[in-house]
Symmetry: C2
Subunit: 65 residues, 2 copies
């Protein structure tokens, strides 16, 4: 499978916020992350970078977090 | 491997713009797409949605295209 680890870029620091993510989609002005188990996380961020070979997605913060 | 098909959302219409993409990263105010063969495409868009199970990434247009 092609799940990814999602990192949030906080002023240059990459914070690992969720593993095994299979879906990232806009939800209003936020971003909804869904992992292989169906667990969800809503973050104030947008998708900055996707590296499929490294199974890595980097988000950048928007708004107040 | 986990390559994806990249679509560009043009006012609700999804246009398939690149196959076998393994990397999407910001390049100035544009987005650089790289496929498994190393071929590159630079687009005026940002990443809107990622569906790893469906091997699909949806971009939304920014600026003049």
């Amino acid at each position: 499978m092609c799940e990814a680890v999602v990192f949030l870029n906080r002023g240059g620091e990459l914070e690992r916020i969720m593993d095994d993510v299979v879906e990232l989609k806009p939800e209003g002005d936020k971003l909804l992350l869904v992992d292989v188990f169906g667990e969800q996380k809503l973050v104030s961020a947008r998708i900055s970078e996707v590296e499929l070979m490294d199974h890595r997605v980097v988000l950048s913060e928007t708004g107040e977090g």
